[in-house]
């Protein structure tokens, strides 16, 4: 049975680049897929695009493309990525420019568009699920609206001969599903195979998280050589069953345990992993170790798609101010608590209207509140005081108040840091898929 080899080049926007180069060189790959778009990245990129029409794509695109394009050209590896972010066309143009500089004449780069639905959404009809109100009733400054596209636009671009396909918002697994649909000629209502292809995508989309990254727990789960973690490869057959593996000589490992953890990562009901092209069913998936760093994944399934696409709305939510200061040695926690008491009193006194306040001691209760409290006195604590407020000036006051603890607070405080930031947050809703059209633009170096 024919198989294809798909590798992950990045599992998030800031991921390591060397493992992708390694895979391009030695992976005998057909496709190298870079997943680089976090939930709110596209909203921030949209803001950048508003200031500069040539901006709004992934800032690491340049480095990644320069690192892998010559090798991918030589080895015949096609690249798929959502590094287009808010501006796939500008990303494709920039990739063409890089390709020309590298002498890769004739390289074909496609920009997939259609995910930007800011002008498509009806203020009266589109319902924001988080707040249960319509877009028109949502009293916030909306800056972006992007639908999670399925595989179709990428498949069309591959069919037209693209060597590199750049998208904006696409469902992460769809970037891996697309080459399987294209190579094996799967029908778009072959729910079982689409479900299996989605499973492969889901296992690969976070890169090193399936090859031993985010897994180590010394003595219980030791993982070798995480500094040289290898990124995953899937060998997929025509039925969508796959072997998950990695390059020999790289760090980490692929075993049943790493695959099981990734199988359930960010999954709710395993029978209903809802994607644009299919509802994938992971509930009966079988995971079998078939060799060193080789795990067979089979028996995925799928149900007909919902016909709706998830849309992420980016908006300006609030301003947040934060300050931190450390206390150490005997009585550290008590002095930290005193510092927090002073800060709570101060924000009342100086009249900063706060929508939300968090005061906590890192090392004592910052993560699990007081649920996991122990009697042990920590040898050091870090005070963290953070508030949500209406404007940046008020937010900046918070750090200043923490800083003033140097001269006005408990004994022995040190290492103040302060920050203030505008929060771009995300809410979401559903859009019938027939409200948008996916298309691609092809360019040639």
């Amino acid at each position: 049975m024919r198989t294809i080899r798909i590798g992950t080049g990045a599992g998030f926007s800031g991921d390591r680049i060397e493992p992708a180069v390694d895979l391009a060189e030695k992976g005998d790959l057909d496709y190298l897929v870079f997943e680089c778009l976090a939930e709110r990245t596209i909203a921030l990129a949209q803001q950048a695009k508003m200031h500069d029409s040539n901006a709004g794509f992934d800032p690491l695109l340049e480095r990644r493309m320069r690192a892998v394009l010559p090798i991918c050209r030589e080895k015949g590896v096609r690249v798929i990525s959502n590094m287009g972010a808010a501006n796939p066309v500008a990303a494709a143009k920039h990739t063409i420019k890089i390709a020309r500089e590298l002498g890769l004449s004739g390289l074909r780069v496609a920009a997939v568009q259609g995910d930007n639905v800011l002008d498509v959404l009806s203020p009266d009809e589109f319902v924001i699920e988080d707040t249960n109100c319509t877009l028109g009733e949502f009293q916030k400054d909306v800056i972006s609206a992007n639908a999670y596209l399925g595989a179709e636009g990428i498949v069309d671009a591959l069919r037209a001969g693209a060597d590199v396909v750049l998208t904006g918002r696409a469902a992460d697994p769809a970037m891996f599903l697309a080459p399987q649909i294209f190579e094996f000629g799967w029908q778009m209502d072959d729910w079982t195979r689409l479900g299996r292809g989605t499973l492969v995508g889901h296992l690969l989309e976070c890169g090193g998280q399936v090859t031993g990254g985010y897994f180590a727990d010394p003595r219980l789960k030791d993982v070798p050589d995480l500094a040289n973690l290898g990124f995953p490869i899937a060998e997929v057959d025509e039925d969508g069953n796959a072997i998950i593996t990695k390059l020999p000589g790289t760090g980490g490992f692929v075993n049943a345990a790493t695959c099981k953890e990734q199988l359930l990562y960010e999954v709710h009901d395993p029978k209903r992993y809802i994607q644009p092209d299919v509802i994938a069913d992971f509930s009966a998936v079988e995971i079998t170790e078939v060799g060193p760093d080789r795990v067979a994944v089979s028996n995925g399934d799928g149900l007909p798609k919902t016909g709706s696409l998830k849309v992420s709305i980016g908006y300006i939510d609030s301003c947040v101010g934060e300050g931190q200061i450390s206390y150490a040695g005997p009585g550290a926690a008590e002095r930290g608590q005193l510092a927090l008491d002073i800060l709570h009193q101060r924000i009342d006194q100086i009249g900063i209207a706060c929508d939300e306040v968090r005061g906590e001691l890192i090392g004592v209760n910052s993560i699990f509140k007081d649920v996991a409290a122990t009697d042990c006195a920590p040898s050091e604590v870090r005070v963290r005081f953070v508030v949500r407020t209406g404007d940046m000036q008020k937010a900046a006051r918070i750090g200043e108040e923490v800083e003033s603890l140097y001269l006005n607070g408990p004994a022995g405080g040190g290492g103040v840091t302060k920050s203030s930031r505008e929060i771009v947050a995300i809410v979401s809703g559903l859009l019938p898929e027939d409200r948008l059209t996916t298309r691609f633009e092809m360019m040639e170096a």
Binding site: K260, E261, P270, K271
Partner: protein, 103 residues
């Protein structure tokens, strides 16, 4: 004995919802997970960290449970003031759940 001795775990996030897998190291411990790691016990173990309900899904063929915990992330990853807005650390809390196994 703690859950950590017989199972491993990973947390994921979507909006204000956290999901935590609990996976038996050894197939013979799967019945222990099924019996002792109930949605109710998990809910109690997190206490005020989880505001909404906890739903458990079972995957017997891989010896895993998946817990979906609503209103768990301070209003959602992108706006939470928490030090760990994704709730990535929550799996480490779950692994401290006391487990009764006779060996």
């Amino acid at each position: 004995m703690q859950l950590r001795d017989i199972a491993h775990s990973r947390t994921g996030d979507k909006g204000n919802i956290s999901n935590i897998s609990v996976i038996a190291y050894r197939p013979e411990d799967w019945p222990v997970l099924l019996e002792q790691v109930t949605a109710e016990r998990v809910r109690d173990h997190f206490g005020p960290l989880i505001a909404g309900e906890v739903v458990r899904y079972e995957l017997p063929q891989i010896g895993a449970l998946n817990f979906v915990m609503y209103e768990a992330l301070g209003g959602g990853v992108t706006r939470s003031l928490a030090l760990d807005p994704h709730g990535k650390c929550l799996s480490s809390r779950l692994l401290t759940l006391p487990i009764d196994v006779q060996r």
